[in-house]
Structure formats: structure tokens, C-alpha cells
Amino acid sequence: MVEKLDQIFVLLSHWLVGFLPAGLQQAAGIVIGVVVIVCLYPALFALAVLMERKGLGRMQNRYGPNRVGPYGILQPIADGIKSLTKEDIVPLSADSAVHFLAPIVVVVASFMGFAVLPMGRNMVLVDMDAGLLFYFAMGASTELAVFMAGWSSRNKYSLLGAMRAVAQMISYEVPLLLSSVAVVMITGSLSLTKIVSAQNAYTGIFPHWYIFTPWGFAGFLMYAISTTAETNRSPFDLPEGESEIVAGYHTEYSGFKFALFFLGEYVAMFSISGLGTTLFLGGWSAPFSFLTWIPSWIWFFSKLMLSICVFIWLRGTLPRLRQDQLMNFAWKFVLPLSLINLLVAALWRFLGEGWQRWVFCSAILLIAYVFMGLQEARSDHFGPRSYRYAE
């Protein structure tokens, strides 16, 4: 029964496909998988937007949307209908073809990543040997799309926003890649399914998730920071920093094209958090051995939503960085640390089992963190201050 519940979607898909002639079965199975991805994540997007608005509200001592439908759950749908029926404005001097293509490229690029994400046991669209590489290759195209959006609008704020976005995304892509490489080094595979199954083991009741190793923890932090920056979320939301450059690269977008950017951002958030979950948080595996009876897909999606909650939490709390600080942070803090993390991951293997590797690896990372942190603070001359009073 537990097994069946775990595999319920797989079985359902098989059952549905069973009605078709044999020659079409495989293709139909794929189509079902794709349809699920294309329908599920937008639905999750709606949920996440609502969660964000309500969660932010709660952090700010208010309710958030609660009138459209019961508890406000229909709010995203209303937003969707509104966006759909809004007039579409393309500035006269804009490059209309590129202006039109940009949101579509954003959406497509952010959806493609899901192809290799295992969303549960046996629930992956394609299990490729070079899955992780594929994921990053797809992620790389988003940068171009953002540039297209900002450039084609021919608006100063858009262009500034696009340049910021591209600079930011390329800067954080390197640590993103490097922190994943550490995982690959230990797992020995680029296939995300294999990475999950490598973590799906338990010592006592505790799982073998990579986040519970020194290099994994540090890698996860680097990954989380880079993720936030890659998806342009607060505190790295400079490309759309409204206090400076109005709405950034989508200043000139209206109607559903804007909604597509919005959707693209969230879908990218899902996919990149899904990847993070897979790489460091054991993917669909249960957090304790005695919880394995809960279906794997529940674990995957709860981890996904949890990371979305963290995004929301960060957004509710933190101010925005400045462009130079953002770049400095990427190149002078995150990148060196993730390089050191690679070294630590290698050491982890060479030091073999035993407590030594824990102490050693943690010590290296901690020292590096403190050193780099001090460096960072010193280079910007910041710190707490005291004040004097006059009578």
C-alpha cells in the first residue's frame, strides 16, 4: 500500500497509457509527464505567490490577500484573468520582435530544467547521464532572455536593469556550478537520480544527506546564496530594484508578457530549489528513516515549498545590496569559498572514514569563512559604531 501510494503517479500514468496502442505508449507516457510538469508548476506558482503575499503580510502584522475567494485562494486566478485581458503595450521605438520573444524564452528556459529533476522515486522525465550539465546549460539561456527583454525595450531603466541582471547572473553562476561540482565529486555522477539515491541511505535514523557534511553544508550555503542571486530574489533583487530603476528589465512589459516574466521567475525558483533539494537535501528521500513510509513525492515537494518559504522570509527581512557589493560578494567571497569547498570535498574523500575528516574539513571551512568574512568587512570599512552626546 505504502509502495503503491509512493508510486501512485507512475502507476496512474501507466494505467492511462495502457489504453493506447503499444507503439504510442512510450510517447504518451512522456507526454503525460510533460503535461504534469507544465500544469503542476504554474499551479505551484499560483500557490507560491499567494503564500508569499500572505506570508509577507503576516511578517508585517497584517493578513495579506483574504477576500478573493475563501481565504483569498482565488487571488492568483484573478490576477491571471486580469493580466490576460490587459492591453498589451509595445513601445514604438522598441525592438518589437525581440520584445515579444524575451518572455517566451524566459519561460521556456525555466521550464526546461524540470526535465532532469527527480520529483519522487521513479518520477523523472529523463534520466540523462549529463543531467546536471543539461540543467546548467538551460539555466544559461535565461541570461540572454533577460538581456533581450531589457535591451529591446529601449528604456533606460530597462537597460540598466538588464545589464545589472546579466552581470549578476553570470557572476553567481560560477559559484553555483562549483558548489554543485563538489556534490558530483562525491557522488561520481551527473545524473540527478543517482545523486538522490546516493543520499537515500540512513545511519540510525539520520539520512546521508550532503547538507550534513561540512563540505555539503558550506556548499549548500554557497548554493543558496547563488540561487537567490540567480533568481533575482531579495536581497539580490537589484535588476528589478524599484527604488532605483523602477521595474528593471520589465519596466516596459504589460499584460500577460509581464505575467510570463513573473511566472518565469517563480518557475526558475522552483526548478533551482528543486535542484538544490536534489543536490544537498536528499531530493525525495525522507528526513528520518522511520518516515520513509510517506510517499517520496510529498517529501520532494515539501522540501521545495520549504525553500520557497525561506526565499519569502529573506525577502521580508533584508534590504537590497548594491551592485558593486553584489559583484564583490560573488567574486571575492562566494567564489573563493566555493573553490575552497571543492578542495575540502576532495579532502573528504581522501581522509577516509573517521572523525578526523569531520574536524579537519569543518576547521578549514570555518577558518576560510571567518577570514573571508573579515576581509569582506574590512574592505568595505563597515562595522557597528558608537555615538557621542552633547548636552
Binding site: 509577507l56 508585517q60 548594491r322 551592485q323 558593486d324 570599512h381 555615538y387
Partner: protein
């Protein structure tokens, strides 16, 4: 000028003649200048202010402020109507702090006529203006954080407390923002004991809010990185450019009109003036934070000591108010700086000349000096830290 911080080039060197022009930044990288208008509709300009920027990449090479988008002819209207009728208009000058505006105007008129103010009214004025200062500073910090990209959380907390204070205002004066409370020679209505109790209760709850605010912001690394060393205003320039209020004190100049003029009854209260050593955005943020604490001290004392008695000079007239010919300049320490009113009376029912000395406008004089060479994102912060209200800037 007392001791001035020496860090970050805070010397007292006398600069050569003509030093007070903004420096001209030579363009260093080869990119073309991007001419951007920020405002009049821009999320960061706190209303309808406009800055014409020339950017080299993201660096500000030139900045020209442009005003007048909210020029409501306040002074002209003031000359066309009676002294009393201008009182509600002063509410709309700096619309975040109507009560201090009221006070400044009342003070100027009282100087013009030589009227006396009963003691209870003085206490009420102090209480209300310190509450005003508190809510203004909290709001300013909230807006500053909003400019920094905080998604509204600090602003919401600030407004949560502001609502409590506004409720007090409304209970006493009848309106949340446009109080129109002070009169020449006193205040319009008396505060009930219930109101004073409510105020005591609210004031008792405010330190907790400040603690929360400080926990949220004071040691936040991003905030420190964003604000420290940004928009430095040297004290010499600050004094020469007529900068007043928290902006001046953040630059280390000890000048608080409450201490200098002892207007009202401020000499009876025990409070201090916090001073900054760096004159940057962080100092301005912190000076406001600390001034809020000092305001709470004053409030505690004033609420404890408030005497009974009338709240308005019984000789004061509402109708047929005609000051003798003459002129007067009255000023107070408003939350934004020195708010002054200059009145010339020709003996008629209307002032012959009615002039507002707007701290916000004059504090903007140095905006260009503080912003040149900084990042465009910093300009937003610098503007936010100056704390302008367009109603007062343009009048």
C-alpha cells in the same frame, strides 16, 4: 561648532574661496553618459521630486535636482488670508509633522504680537511635537529601508507605531494628520486626563518598538554595507549650506534649536543631543534612532510634570486678529531641521509677507555634493536620509 570627528577626512581645514560649489566629476571610464530622469514619478523620490542624473555605468557624474512639482503657492495663499486661516495650511507643509509646523507658525505669530502662552499649553506643545518627531523619524527610517529594498517590513513596523500616535492626535485634535491644533497664545482644546493616560501608555510601549527596530536593522550587515561611508557630508559644508536637523548633527555639529533657543519650555527637560562622527547615511539613520530615544525621555518628563491650568491665553482673539506693524522670525527644531516662519505685519488682518523657511528644501542644497561619484543606488539612499517632504520643499 564643538569637536568634530576626524575620521574619514573630517578635518577642519578651511577650504579656499569658492569651495562650496559641488565638485565636478571627471568621467573616467569610456562609457557614454546615460542621462536619466529620476522622478517626478519615481518610487524613491518621496513624492514628486525630480533628479536629472548623468550616469557613467552606475556612477553618478552629474545630478541636478528639479523642484516645483508640488508648488502649491503656500506663501501667496498665506498673504491673502487672515493669520488664523493660515494655520490649517501649515499642516500641509510638512504633512508628516503637522504639529511642529503649527508650533513654528504659532511661535512666529506670538513673537510678532508678544503674546504669552500658558504653561499647560507649553507642555502640551512639547508632548505633541516630540510625538510628532518620533513618528516622523520612525517613518523616515522606514522609508529609507524601503528605498534600500526592504519589501516594506520596517516601514510597516514604523507605521504600526505611527498609527498609535496618530490615534492620540486624532483623539486630541480631531484629525490624524492635519491637526490644526495650536493657536496664537496656546492650544485649541485641552487634553483630558484620559488622553494623558493613553499617551503615557503609548509612550511606555515605544521603547520596545525601538528595541525591535534596532534588532531588525542596526547590526544588519547589508544595511551597514549599504550605508556606511555613503553620502558623506563634511561639517564645514553642512554649516555653510545651512543644513539643519539630524542631517547636521550626523555630521558632528552640535546645533539643536531646542538647546540653542530654549523655545517653549525645552530648558526644563533633561535630554541630550546625539552626534555622529562620519556624516554618512548610517550616521543619519542612527542619529534619528537615538533622537527617538531622547524624545521618549522628554515625553516621560513632560507627561509626569504637566501642570493644570488653561491651555489658551484668555486674551487671545480668534476673530479680528490684527497684529501691530512689525516683523518677526520664529523658528523651531522640527524633525527635519530648522523650520522658521518670517512674518511682516502691516497692521492688517492678513500678513503682508508670510514666508516659510523650509528645512527640507535647504537640506537638499548639498544633495549634489553628497551624491556625485556615488552609485545610483546610493543616491536613492542619500535622498532618503535627507528626509524630505515635498509639501515643504516646494510649498
Amino acid at each position: 561648532m564643538t569637536k568634530i570627528g576626524t575620521k574619514l577626512g573630517f578635518g577642519r581645514k578651511k577650504k579656499p574661496e569658492g569651495w562650496n560649489r559641488p565638485p565636478v566629476i571627471e568621467q573616467t571610464s569610456e562609457g557614454e553618459l546615460l542621462e536619466v530622469a529620476m522622478g517626478p514619478h519615481h518610487p524613491s523620490t518621496h513624492g514628486v521630486f525630480r533628479m536629472n542624473l548623468a550616469l557613467d555605468g552606475e556612477r553618478v557624474i552629474r545630478l541636478k535636482p528639479e523642484f516645483g512639482y508640488l508648488h502649491r503657492n503656500h506663501e501667496k495663499l498665506g498673504e491673502g488670508q487672515s493669520y488664523l486661516a493660515s494655520m490649517p495650511y501649515t499642516d500641509r507643509l510638512d504633512y508628516l509633522c503637522s504639529l511642529t509646523n503649527n508650533w513654528a507658525y504659532a511661535l512666529a505669530v506670538e513673537k510678532l504680537t508678544g503674546q504669552q502662552v500658558p504653561e499647560r499649553a507649553e507642555y502640551l506643545r512639547v508632548i505633541l511635537s516630540e510625538l510628532t518627531r518620533f513618528q516622523n523619524h520612525a517613518g523616515t527610517i522606514g522609508f529609507l529601508m524601503q528605498d534600500m529594498g526592504c519589501s516594506g517590513t520596517p516601514l510597516m513596523y514604523a507605521f504600526r507605531e505611527r498609527e498609535k500616535i496618530l490615534d492620540l492626535f486624532e483623539e486630541l485634535t480631531g484629525s490624524r494628520m492635519m491637526c490644526n491644533y495650536m493657536r496664537f497664545g496656546g492650544c485649541r482644546v485641552d487634553a483630558t486626563p484620559a488622553w494623558l493616560d493613553a499617551t503615557r501608555k503609548v509612550v511606555a510601549g515605544l521603547p520596545a518598538f525601538l528595541d525591535e527596530f534596532e534588532a531588525l536593522l542596526r547590526s544588519n550587515e547589508i544595511l551597514m554595507a549599504r550605508t556606511q561611508g555613503v553620502g558623506i557630508l563634511p561639517p564645514d559644508l553642512a554649516v555653510n549650506a545651512g543644513i539643519t536637523g539630524p542631517l547636521l548633527r550626523a555630521s558632528g555639529v552640535n546645533y539643536d534649536i531646542r538647546k540653542v533657543d530654549h523655545y517653549g519650555i525645552y530648558d526644563r527637560f533633561n535630554f541630550k543631543v546625539p552626534l555622529g562622527d562620519h556624516g554618512d547615511v548610517y550616521d543619519r539613520f542612527m542619529i534619528r534612532m537615538l533622537e527617538m530615544r531622547e524624545s521618549l525621555k522628554i515625553l516621560d518628563q513632560a507627561l509626569k510634570e504637566i501642570p493644570g491650568g488653561p491651555v489658551v491665553d484668555p486674551k487671545a482673539k480668534i476673530r479680528g486678529f490684527r497684529p501691530k506693524p512689525g516683523e518677526a522670525y520664529g523658528r523651531i527644531e522640527s524633525p527635519k531641521g530648522e523650520l522658521g516662519f518670517y512674518l511682516i505685519s502691516d497692521g492688517g488682518p492678513n500678513p503682508y509677507r508670510y514666508r516659510v523657511r523650509p528645512p527640507s528644501l535647504i537640506n537638499l542644497t548639498v544633495l549634489e555634493d553628497m551624491s556625485l561619484g556615488q552609485n545610483v543606488a546610493d543616491v536613492v539612499l542619500i535622498l532618503g536620509s535627507v528626509d524630505i517632504v515635498m509639501g515643504e520643499v516646494d510649498r
